[in-house]
């Protein structure tokens, strides 16, 4: 018997289970004269197309611009982009369904992405996400897409969320209500705690002395070979003089099978660059 739940558990592209319309011809490249495109959108797409050697490169910026205008990549938005770029709507749909930030369903024109990846997971982000989602349901927040997201590259602020591109963190579970009501009332949540806010600092940075502002050090900070941080911490020893700079090693003759830099290549890390190097030499 077919296990319906298992089918839906995997990452399937949206629309995979919708029947194909066999009574309709496949959509072709739209006639530019027959599709009305808002002039701003047209200008933006044409500007982007002129920046690349191949106009197809403008697909992502064009879809993003259409999404800003329409709130999601609706069939209408896709038709407009297709008319300006002269590609088929199917091609644009194939791209739009691949990328997480392009919405293929009308689920809100603003977003709250809550990072629940490894580093945030270690700091209780799942509970934060669930609290925000529960609050959004309770307070009836509309036109906002709230979802878990891949690592947003702000693990120092964990647990954090991106609110229409503004990174906010660290957020505590109990603050979910405040976040949602701020969004509902059109206020900026947690002023001063967003990455773009002037003077933004993380809580544990407050007491820290400002790092020295000098240029690069003349000589590197030396650590005696085999020493550990504890040695340096406990013994107040004067710094070890740096050994004289090594003369650059003479160029090594290349023997097949070794890497040029001489480093050992661990198959576990699958340094594909080594393969490339072999390829280049051939």
């Amino acid at each position: 018997m077919r296990d319906e739940a298992a089918l839906h558990a995997g990452p399937l592209p949206p629309g995979w289970d919708e029947a194909v319309r066999l009574d309709e011809d496949p959509a072709t490249i739209p006639d530019p004269a027959s599709v009305e495109v808002p002039p701003q959108l047209r200008a933006e797409i044409e500007r982007r197309m002129a920046m690349y050697p191949d106009r197809h490169s403008a697909v992502l910026p064009a879809l993003a611009a259409a999404q800003r205008l329409h709130g999601w990549c609706s069939p209408e938005a896709i038709l407009q982009v297709a008319a300006v770029m002269q590609v088929t709507p199917a091609y644009l749909s194939s791209v739009a369904t691949f990328y997480d930030m392009l919405r293929t369903q009308p689920i809100g024109s603003h977003y709250v992405y809550v990072c629940t990846s490894v580093s945030c997971h270690l700091r209780n982000s799942k509970a934060v996400y669930e609290a925000i989602e529960a609050q959004a349901g309770e307070q009836g927040l509309e036109d906002w897409e709230i979802r878990e997201f891949e690592c947003l590259g702000a693990c120092d602020m964990a647990p954090m969320a991106s609110i229409d591109g503004r990174y906010v963190g660290p957020i505590e579970e109990g603050e979910a209500g405040e976040l949602v009501s701020a969004l509902k009332e059109g206020r900026e949540p947690f002023p001063g705690r967003g990455l773009p806010d002037p003077g933004f600092r993380l809580p544990w940075e407050e007491g820290r002395a400002a790092p020295d502002r000098g240029g690069p050090p003349e000589e590197p900070d030396v650590h005696p070979a085999g020493g550990t941080w504890e040695d340096g911490e406990m013994l107040d020893v004067p710094p070890v003089p740096h050994p004289p700079a090594k003369p650059p090693p003479p160029p090594r003759p290349l023997s097949p099978g070794t890497s040029v830099a001489g480093e050992k290549i661990d198959p576990a890390t699958r340094d594909r660059e080594a393969e490339r190097e072999e390829e280049e030499r051939r």
Partner: protein, 427 residues
């Protein structure tokens, strides 16, 4: 404590993201030097001699990579990989937000080395603030004549475009990045041909990480010999490490390669919260196999991390303390890779999916000890058999957790089963 600030030397200077402040602090001097006083060969030579290795993950020599680009008059491209999506990594975000002109200057120097006339900074779509800052920096550089045709009266022409992704981890893989930049779904390509021969628009393409390119102006300014003094062995220079997870002071720290891992985790980041011990850590992003406290005194270098069975990767250290159960963590990790798998090749698409399902069984108390064996076997079948490294990126850490903490997995399974049985009995 013992940060060695080279890339981050001026990072707290107010207004560093504007060209005026950047130039006042000596910015764009390296570009002048490389363009007007040095030949292409000299630039390449300096980069190769410096021993600078890729900071994005693979750790391949940057100068060597640039020297692979074929010579001759044709359209060649430079791509800066700013799609920083590796969980745990946030170093490029800091560089681009605070010091965008260093990256622009690095791109220009990279373009001289590769002979590229067109460049793209592929930045992930979530970094909206950083992309806006970069856009402004590129515009300022154009105004000053540092980008465009015949830069500073030389015969070098270089155009730079900031291109925003739309949220896909896989676009950090270099060939998937190229496909995304060409306006397609971000599926990795079969290699060879390598991007150095046939990359973007089928032209020779040099692809480098943000931090790698940001190092190039420093190497040109101070010389390769100066740069080689930093670091240890074949791991030269300084490295930005992003420390996160269960530590007291998560953040970016710039260290000289070769200081001990203990010094980074305990010295700089403050170690796990009071009264807790470290259980394990990822030394190079969530794709790196985990290491245990016995590895804390290893020097933080490409070689030592590889020797311990892991990798330095992107330089993101994720610390896990003793209170954290590992099964939900492994599950979280596997779910991430399942979601991000592009689906082009079978071992990754099916392997990530099955790993998630089996870890769910273990977590919910439905697993048997045999499941752990199968789980291990599945990881072995993924590693080395995928089109790109995404599948391996899940399989290696999951396999390493199983290897180091099998007892905990078995215990977790038993406890979950008992709990489930009790709940059933009560019902």
């Amino acid at each position: 404590m013992s940060e060695t600030r080279v890339l981050l030397a001026n990072i707290d200077e107010p207004g560093l993201n504007t060209i005026g402040v950047y130039e006042r602090l000596g910015g764009y001097a390296s570009m002048r030097k490389a363009l007007l006083e040095m030949s292409t060969e000299q630039v390449l030579h300096e980069l190769e001699e410096s021993g600078l290795r890729g900071r994005g993950g693979a750790g391949f020599s940057m100068g060597k990579k640039a020297s692979f680009i074929p010579k001759g008059a044709m359209d060649k491209y430079l791509c800066c990989n700013a799609d920083e999506s590796e969980p745990g990594t946030f170093k490029d975000r800091l560089l681009m937000q605070k010091n965008p002109h260093l990256l622009v200057e690095g791109c220009i120097i990279g373009s001289i080395a590769a002979g590229a006339n067109k460049g793209f900074i592929f930045i992930r779509g979530e970094y909206e603030l950083q992309a806006d800052i970069l856009d402004a920096a590129v515009a300022e550089a154009y105004d000053k004549g540092y980008l465009g045709e015949g830069i500073l009266g030389s015969d070098h022409t270089f155009d730079l475009v900031v291109h925003r992704g739309q949220g896909a981890y896989i676009c950090g893989e270099e060939t998937a990045l190229l496909d995304a930049l060409e306006g397609k779904r971000g599926n990795p390509r079969l290699k060879p041909p390598f991007p150095a021969n046939q990359g973007l628009y089928q032209g020779p393409t040099l692809i480098n990480n943000v931090e790698t390119l940001c190092n190039t102006p420093i190497i040109i300014e101070h010389g390769a010999d100066w740069y080689r003094k930093f670091g240890e062995g074949n791991s030269t220079g300084t490295k930005l490490v992003s420390v996160s997870g269960n530590v007291q002071r998560p953040g970016n720290y710039e260290i000289e390669l070769g200081i001990s891992v203990r010094e980074i985790i305990y010295g700089l980041a403050g170690g796990p919260p009071e009264g807790r011990e470290l259980k394990c850590f990822f030394p190079g992003g969530s794709s790196a196999p985990v290491l245990t406290p016995e590895h804390l005194d290893l020097p933080y270098t490409f070689e030592a991390m590889a020797g311990a069975g892991s990798m330095l990767g992107s330089g993101a250290i994720i610390v896990v303390d003793e209170t954290e159960p590992l099964v939900p963590l492994a599950l979280r990790l596997a779910e991430f890779y399942r979601h991000e798998s592009c689906g082009k090749c079978v071992p990754c698409r099916e392997g990530t999916n099955w790993t998630v399902k089996m870890l769910e069984r273990v977590d919910e108390g439905e697993g048997t000890p045999m499941d752990l064996d199968i789980l291990e076997q599945v990881q072995g079948n993924i590693i080395g058999n995928c089109l790109c490294v995404l599948g391996d990126s899940m399989a290696m850490p999951v396999a390493s957790m199983l290897k180091h903490f099998r007892g905990e997995f078995e215990q977790h399974m038993e406890q979950a089963r008992t709990k489930r049985d009790l709940a059933e009995a009560a019902a």
